[in-house]
Amino acid sequence: MRQRLRNNGLSLFFGAILLLSLVGQAFTGQAFYNEQALDSGLPTLSLGEYVTSSQFTVDVAENWQSEYLQFLLFILLTIFLFQKGSTESKPLDKGGRESDKDQKVAEYAEKGSPEWAKRRGWRLSLFSHSLGLTMGLIFVLSWLAQFVAGHSAYNAEQLQELSDPLGWRDYLLAPDFWNRTLQNWQSEFLAVGSMVVLSIYLRERGSPESKPVGEPHESTGSQG
């Protein structure tokens, strides 16, 4: 049991703080919504009503879609783009999809290799792109969730302000949808960019996200 906890500490920890922060977001979001509702003499929402509302859903979805877009772009672009000296970049001589031997597929697969990596065919092709496809699919679905829930939440606000609601096509072009989208995208791109550049010159001893402390700045793709 202790060994299992140790071996899965990273995912368990992040899973736990994800849940805690979602719960915290639910409580604070409900309080904020109800504060405004009371000021306007409008109905308040119970916690159950709030977490099943379009207001909560759009606030969660707009953050999730940008996180998965960040993963998708980072996974795909690091195949072809480099940053000399960064831990987040492949070594400069390893561009592209690499050889079957380097990737341990088909005849180069090892005994412990995943089953779908061992034989050529559609399974190998699908598995070879499963990470990017999964991140891309989750990004598209969570952006769609942001759009649907955002449309509803925005229109509820419109009605509270005695204005007409927008149709789907008008909301697709609305500042609310794109402001929510772009404010999340910019922070994700900043995070990746920061990590790519800062990892060239700065160190954190013991972290796999850092080069070894004594590793030269020019060294690319090494981890501590």
């Binding site: 306007s40 099943t52 969730a145 649907v148 829930a149 229109n155 990590m195």
Partner: protein, 138 residues
């Protein structure tokens, strides 16, 4: 960053819940009829049964009306809210908020614990700006 890969399978149930919430959150087809019914009953009783119409006003809207124009039973019939605005042509519901477009008026509503109540009535379009409503809350 490679450690994030392990989270991708855990995301599926959460994403499914998110999509379900997005699809059913706010779109109130089950509430269309009750909201429309309240709007029609309100406009039909403005002069015919004013106490009943006053009871259908949202609390804050009634407070605003009475603070500016006196008791609701007397001030509501004298407002610009049409006496019998006709049938509801279309109603749109988003969560606890709704708008009913009647033949001769537009009425905004909100769903309180006791049911749908009118938050604004006697409303006329004002271009891209909010409707100008004769009876409304703050």
């Amino acid at each position: 960053m490679t450690s994030r890969n392990s989270k991708r399978y855990a995301a599926w149930p959460a994403l499914g819940a998110l999509l379900a919430l997005a699809g059913c959150a706010g779109q109130g087809s089950a509430e269309d009829a009750p909201a429309a019914d309240t709007a029609e009953r309100f406009t039909q009783t403005v002069t015919a049964d004013t106490p009943a119409a006053c009871a259908l006003l949202a609390p804050q809207t009634r407070v605003e009306l009475e603070s500016e124009h006196g008791p609701c039973d007397q001030s509501l019939p004298q407002s610009d809210v049409p006496d019998d605005a006709g049938k509801v042509r279309e109603v749109k519901v988003y969560g606890k908020d709704a708008v009913a477009y009647l033949e001769r008026d537009t009425v905004f509503l909100a769903r309180f614990g006791e049911g749908w109540r009118v938050t604004a009535a006697g409303c006329t379009p004002n271009g891209d700006k909010p409707y100008e409503c004769d009876v409304k809350g703050n």
